[in-house]
Amino acid sequence: MLRAIRHKNILPAFSAFRAFSSSAKEMTVREALNSALDEEMSADPKVFLMGEEVGEYQGAYKITKGLLDKYGPERVLDTPITEEMALICLLNILQAGFTGIGVGAAYYGLRPVVEFMTFNFSMQAIDHIINSAAKSNYMSAGQISVPIVFRGPNGAAAGVGAQHSQCYAAWYASCPGLKVLSPYSSEDARGLLKAAIRDPDPVVFLENELLYGESFPVSAEVLDSSFCLPIGKAKIEREGKDVTITAFSKMVGYALKAAEILAKEGISAEVINLRSIRPLDRSTINASVRKTNRLVTVEEGFPQHGVGAEICTSVIEESFGYLDAPVERIAGADVPMPYAANLERMAVPQVEDIVRAAKRACYRSVPLAATA
């Protein structure tokens, strides 16, 4: 099994520029994450990093660049390939070992930040994420809390095949005891990662590999070392009055692009950046739907039992009378991710899919895309 380490120079899929009234210092998501880790590690000596290639390699995606030199090998731990044994192949990732070690350290008040090279590999450690991290506070009736952060890239990259492309938001978000965060911009990345590290509970922090190299403007407030965003609150990225589009991670960018296109056709879309998948900000979503009366949920992961399904049900439970159209759910194709570039493009939601769904929700007659 070959794991391609993405080269840093990925051209962004689209430009992330938008008009900001405050100062327009730009920061890539990678720099945002790196600075957040740096600041939290210097503020609290109990914070330490663990993962494959986080130290000497400077991070598989260079998120932890410079931290080994600054904090030393005792706080930035390169681990052996030990997630949980499955195969004997050299390149296979074995993660339960160090995930469980992170949990054990967290039981004693240390604050590990465990990096998974991608969240696909977290499946090998998922027993520890769910059974020892998420459930411990409950099983011990509050005696043992687990202030651990599991972070890493989630979802599809480009051309990496079925075993490296799954989105785990729905899986982790269904588990009580975990907090699941998914940033989009640099501001999100910085604020949510700092909040996650300070949090006394296990947090699954789902980044996106293709966003690492993207720049976003950041205000001075974001650059402050005590900046952190609330967990459980979504952000309304763009206000609108005709249809609500919810998204997280990379799909927020696509949704914003779709909103631009829809605006030209007279549909004013409100884009919600979920930021926090668990706890889900149901009140913001419902308030928005009560305003616009139409909902399109966008996610990259598999459709069945996905984040969109949960949002749809939440809206039906709380704001059924306000809906003027059925909820439209955009998700990845219900297939393992293909390798061929054109098939991969079809398996992941694109801007046109979001535009089409929004129009359907507004009863502009557009035929459904062909199903697989």
Partner: protein
Amino acid sequence: MSFSATNFAQPRPVPVGIRSNEKSLSSDPFRFRFRGSPSFLGSPHSLRFNPTPPLKLAIPHSRRSPAAAVTDVSNGKMVKSSANMLITKEEGLELYEDMILGRFFEDMCAQMYYRGKMFGFVHLYNGQEAVSTGFIKLLKKEDTVVSTYRDHVHALSKGVPARAVMSELFGKATGCCRGQGGSMHMFSKEHNLIGGFAFIGEGIPVATGAAFSSKYRREVLKEASADHVTLAFFGDGTCNNGQFYECLNMAALWKLPIIFVVENNLWAIGMSHLRATSDPEIWKKGPAFGMAGVHVDGMDVLKVREVAKEAIERARRGDGPTLVECETYRFRGHSLADPDELRDPAEKARYAARDPISALKKYMIENKLANEQELKSIEKKIDEVLDDAVEYSDESPLPPRSQLLENVFADPKGFGIGPDGKYRCEDPKFTQGTAHV
């Protein structure tokens, strides 16, 4: 005069592991010796009737302790000198009391289960008390114990009150985990018992992490008093699980203060260890990773204690982990739901004759450390403790309905911590989202 010799395999270029007391193994003609190509693919039946002569280890014993072990006394060899006792009277009584508490508690659990007061999965520890008592009674309160689903006696040895454990088993609000954990998930922060894990092998990485935190505190946070040791208990079946090897590797690599205690009771539910393992000698896996590997007779509390002392001292000094394989046996089935049909009654009878409690009793009486009366009074005392525990648990209330949604997060409503360091849900400007209680 017979000696109990405990020898450690040191992780030098050609690591060598030596068994502690060959006698106990060699006197067992039914124990299969692994030599060359195994013929044990098949039913346990074929294993039992293949007695082979004991392995002759050419390596000399490097260390001998002068005192005799409990099993030697049981085998009829009297110890002449009382100046070389392994334990004092107080220690002996403490060990005896702890083992009796473990045994009587588990018997009481069985009774309560069949009366319907206890439910779910209950895994009893009868027969293995020497391992728990031998190790845990040497620990400080700050040292950590991580266990499996067979954790009642580990909890008791570590100091969790019998009342708290019993009411946890009854599912009452006064249990050590307020009834939220159950038989397989005993946690006590006060006594540093951090589980209680249902999946085999799950506790091993957590224990390794606890040991890591001890080392981290000492070296990075510079807390000089952080020399806490961690004990990870697990069984023979777990030794075929990947996480075990990952942790042996990392513990040896980072020289963590941890002791991996294998309670090899030869059976993983109904799977015989010999049928499931390519090399059944688990202690040998320690030197493969560069750590000491020891085998000890787990039915003899004094031998276990001796081995434990050395291993704990090694860990506290900072010299790294030890893998200790305790050959022991569970007198009951895997759990109370297990009909236990696969184990040979002759094997059970053999091990019943090596009951650690009666062996210690015989040792103490014959070495004039205690008399019949004192031991009987300990048993009576424990009977009373348990009757009180059952009564307390019966009378304790069930958890209130509001407890269902509590303790999911350490953070009261699950909204995280704000930049001022306080819980966000306490900020009046923060609108409530989800997570109502």
